[in-house]
């Protein structure tokens, strides 16, 4: 197990380093931030002064060395716009995004798995077909459009839920969260649902396909032949087996959920990292963009790492072979 962990950790590190290089080059290519930051009437000398202050006059390789050096110290530079450490600004917004992604993930599993299992057990029933049709919609309609539809129906037409913002928050373990106030929860429902819809469709399909496969296995028939109730056969024998692929895929998708949050946060004016990123891109706030991308990579890599460990707990076969290996 230790060997496996170390090897797995090494892979994660390589991924982070590769991403650092790509991020640096990519951001370097998107234009000169000085043009945006400075008064258009400024003269050559003023431009040069700003360029020098931001360290943009140095050659590319030197900027990269500085970037990596700072990165290793956890310093991703000061935001051009806010004049404060970029990481700090993003971390302030992190709880909002993580809260959103987490609640969306829970929704996707809690709603998606039962629906998928149901559709898998009775694929030809009206219920089964409707669930599949719904999941196709969730899959194919653009995310922002689903978001606007949700706002239109639940906020504008029915007036049940607020259309945007975060609502009242409380401090929990040093993070400001909406989840634990009634007002905040109301604000959270629509964006979380919006972010969840795509993954929910994915979970439904995955759960359905796996349920259909597992339901045909001898061990399910044997479980029935043992005289177990249909309920126990489904909730223990079937569910435990389909949770392995569901957890794996969802774990891998959690990272993209954080990334997808960009759209949802924009539609629902949710003050998370995603919205910050869009604002920063408009202002060419290089350090902020870089910090966002690096943090996102770090989050994704960490999540994948955790999922691998979790996976080995769900599937005894993996657990054992890894212990030996």
């Amino acid at each position: 197990m230790i060997v496996y962990l170390v090897r797995r950790l090494g892979q994660s590190l390589i991924a982070v380093v590769a991403m650092a290089v790509l991020v640096f080059l990519g951001v370097y290519a998107i234009g000169n931030p000085v043009d945006v930051l400075i008064n258009p009437e400024a003269n050559q000398a003023e431009v040069a002064a700003v360029t020098q202050r931001l360290g943009l006059d140095k050659p590319l390789w030197e900027q990269f060395v500085i970037f990596i050096g700072n990165l290793l110290q956890g310093d991703l530079g000061n935001s051009f716009v806010y004049g404060r450490p970029a990481v700090e600004i993003i971390l302030e917004r992190l709880p909002a995004t993580m809260e959103l992604a987490f609640v969306a993930l829970v929704l996707a599993v809690v709603i998606g798995v039962p629906l998928g299992v149901l559709a898998g057990l009775k694929p030809d029933s009206i219920g089964g077909r409707s669930i599949m049709a719904g999941s196709i919609l969730g899959f194919s309609l653009p995310n922002f459009w689903q978001g606007m539809l949700l706002i239109l129906v639940f906020a504008v037409m029915l007036g049940w839920l607020p259309a945007g913002g975060r609502g009242q928050t409380v401090e929990v373990l040093g993070m400001r969260l909406s989840l634990f106030t009634w007002d905040g929860l109301q604000h959270l429902i629509l964006p979380a649902l919006n972010l969840a819809l795509f993954k929910m469709s994915l979970v439904i399909r995955l759960a359905r396909a796996n349920t259909r496969e597992v339901a045909l296995q001898d061990y399910v028939k044997f479980a029935r032949a043992k005289g177990l109730s249909a309920r126990r056969v489904v909730t223990v024998h079937v569910l435990k087996n389909i949770m392995i692929p569901v957890v794996t895929i969802l774990g891998l998708e959690l990272g993209s959920m954080v990334a997808f949050a960009v759209v949802t946060e924009t539609v629902f004016a949710w003050p998370g990292m995603g919205k910050l990123l869009i604002d920063s891109i408009n202002l060419l706030d290089r350090p902020l963009i870089v910090a966002y991308l690096m943090l996102t990579v770090l989050i994704i890599v960490t999540i994948n790492f955790v999922v691998d460990i979790l996976y080995s707990f769900l599937d005894p076969r993996v657990r054992l072979s890894e212990v030996k290996g």
Partner: protein, 328 residues
């Protein structure tokens, strides 16, 4: 009264391409403690018969007619509620592939304890103890360690023993074993066979042993029922059926079994192929492959009692065999 009486059982599969009559008019009787070998080629309907008996035929299949009278109750008429109380308790089943019958993500103790608790109102500790005893009974050593293991930590033979132990948990009156040794190698197969024979004698349970391998059941079963295209075409006491088969198909089957030497010499084979269930020949279903077929076979014969305890479904059975016995 016999433990099980099956009368004209028909189980059909309603597929897109038509109705597959996998089991079509199967009748037999089984006494308490009796071992019946159900033999036939692949696709002859042995497994479907087995699943029909335990009420586990899944759509598009359905038991369409007939009676399954178990200990006085017709299960086909009584339906799922009756089966639910019997399944795992009085009728148990063992499957062919031991690699597939145990759930890979659940520990052995979980899979055994849940079986106990499904039919007995006992504490978990008591259930665990029963599970332990069942493992001991099928010859598994260090049962406490085994209980905490997962199926993949077991060999195929060991898994089949566990499956048998699970089937035995409630001391059922009837066990349906669907080719339980086919996937195992020969030595393990022999071990399991003698083990099962011992357990049957010990507990007095009846056994239906499904196989396509005549050699396997001939040493085990009291009686044989030979299936072909969803029907029983011959039935009788094992030794007599093997020595003097009445039905041309049974005769062909026996002649194709290697015996004596381990070397497989050139054996007599039944010519032709198993017919498709969707396109069965008129009259006797064996007609296209039968050396004795003639026009009289265009009308399907019934399963008739040709001698005491000897039944066959054939217009021209090998009755000369019976006469030989009488003469000698």
């Amino acid at each position: 009264m016999s433990l099980l009486q099956v009368r004209d059982l028909a189980t059909h599969f309603f597929t897109r391409d038509g109705v597959a009559k996998a089991v079509d008019g199967v009748s037999f009787t089984l006494d308490r403690g009796e071992i019946l070998g159900l033999v036939g080629e692949s696709g002859s309907g042995k497994s479907v018969t087995g699943f029909s008996l335990i009420g586990l035929v899944d759509p598009p299949g359905r038991v369409v007619s007939g009676k399954i009278v178990f200990d006085g109750t017709d299960l086909v008429a009584a339906g799922e509620p009756a089966w639910r109380t019997l399944r795992g308790k009085r009728i148990a089943m063992i499957f062919q592939d031991p690699m597939m019958t145990l759930n890979p993500v659940l520990r052995i103790d979980t899979q055994m304890v849940e079986t106990v608790l499904a039919h007995a109102d006992v504490s978990r500790a008591e259930a665990l103890e029963r599970a332990r005893q069942a493992l001991v009974r099928v010859g598994i050593s260090a049962p406490d360690d085994r209980l905490k293991s997962y199926p993949h930590q077991f060999s195929g033979g060991m898994r089949q023993r566990v499956a048998i132990a699970i089937a035995l948990l409630h001391e059922p009156d009837l066990i349906i074993a669907d080719e339980p040794t086919t996937a195992l190698d020969v030595t393990i197969q022999a071990q399991i066979l003698s083990e099962v024979q011992r357990l049957c004698a010990e507990t007095g349970m009846a056994l239906i042993w499904i196989t396509h391998d005549l050699a396997v059941v001939s040493g085990l079963a009291d009686r044989l029922a030979v299936m072909y295209a969803g029907r029983i075409i011959e039935e009788g006491e094992t030794a007599r059926v093997i020595e003097r088969p009445l039905h041309p198909y049974t005769k062909g089957l026996i002649e194709s079994v290697p015996h004596g030497k381990k070397h497989r010499e050139m054996l007599a084979q039944i010519k032709g192929m198993t017919p498709s269930l969707l396109n069965l020949p008129q009259g006797c279903k064996f007609r296209p492959r039968c050396p004795r077929a003639d026009d009289a076979c265009l009308e399907e014969p019934a399963l008739a009692e040709l001698a005491p305890g000897r039944r066959a479904r054939c217009v021209h059975p090998h009755v000369e065999a019976l006469q030989e016995t009488l003469v000698s």
